[in-house]
């Protein structure tokens, strides 16, 4: 599991890559939290365009980050969820809690 972070105009984008499960989520979480706590972005964007598999650990990752950025009044958005992951996102009620949207380029500012 790899994650690339990009900070631009107060938006921290975490572009996740590979399979997201309990094992891989742990290191992604630490990487994101480390930077987020220092930078305190107003928006944390979790970009799922390169995620090929996800179980409910991915849901835990989203909810945990939401809790973290809420501490300083930030928000989380989730972008580019592949159709096969949509079922999981819906089942967990994620669209009721954070904005889920498509975006052409994960490197563009929000």
């Amino acid at each position: 599991m790899k994650v690339r972070l990009l900070l631009k105009n107060g938006v921290l984008t975490a572009r996740l890559h590979g399979e997201l499960d309990h094992h891989s989520a742990a290191c992604v979480r630490d990487t994101i939290d480390d930077t987020a706590q220092k930078m305190r972005p107003h928006t944390l964007r979790l970009d799922f365009s390169e995620i090929t598999f996800m179980d409910s650990s991915g849901i835990g990752l989203i909810l945990g980050r939401l809790k973290l950025v809420s501490v300083w009044g930030g928000k989380v958005i989730v972008t580019n969820v592949a159709p096969e992951l949509q079922k999981m996102i819906e089942l967990a009620g994620i669209p009721r809690l954070v904005e889920v949207r498509k975006e052409a380029d994960g490197n563009e500012a929000v």
Binding site: E19, D21, H22, H23, S24, A25, A26, R29, F53, M54, D55, S56, S57, I59, G60, L61, L63, G64, K67, E84, K87, M88, L91, A92
Partner: protein, 148 residues
């Protein structure tokens, strides 16, 4: 009905084996020629069950996770994921969506996901003795050859 194919495997409850376990089941299921969506659903369910063994059953220890799979002529696949860990005192409660004892990074959705991504989920658990979860899904083949 007798299965037309089966496999068994066991591995230590290391979180690195989560991806190995679902990939192995997925590779076994590939011979049914399932749709990508069906296969992905089943893989997700297996991942949830194996993660439960690692996170809950063997919480502070490393134990053995046992998987046995049976494939039937009609495209039904049954996979049993078993551990000899701590067991679940109240299975009905554990299966409720959002219930978790795993802390803030766990969504409490494991059983809900298994139930919505498989046809049936059966859970047997003995506190102190271990848990077995049996997932069943009937796969429709991508190329249906028995359409008349």
């Amino acid at each position: 009905m007798k299965p037309c194919n089966r496999f068994e495997m066991q591995f230590p409850s290391l979180s690195a084996n989560e991806s190995f376990a679902r990939a192995a089941v997925s590779a076994f299921a590939a011979q049914i020629d399932p749709t990508v969506a069906d296969l992905n659903d089943f893989k997700t369910a297996v991942s949830e069950a194996v993660t439960n063994c690692i996170v809950h059953a063997y919480r502070d220890t490393i134990g053995t996770v046992y998987i046995s799979a049976k494939l039937f002529e009609d495209g039904k696949l049954t996979v049993r994921i078993r551990d000899k860990g701590c067991g679940i005192p109240d299975v009905a409660q554990a299966m409720e969506p959002l219930f978790t004892t795993g802390g803030s990074e766990r969504a409490g959705l494991g059983f809900a996901v298994m139930q919505s991504f498989c046809d049936t989920v059966r859970v047997h658990s003995t506190p102190g003795g271990g848990t077995s979860v049996t997932l069943t899904k009937r796969f429709s083949r991508r190329m249906s050859y028995d359409k008349r």
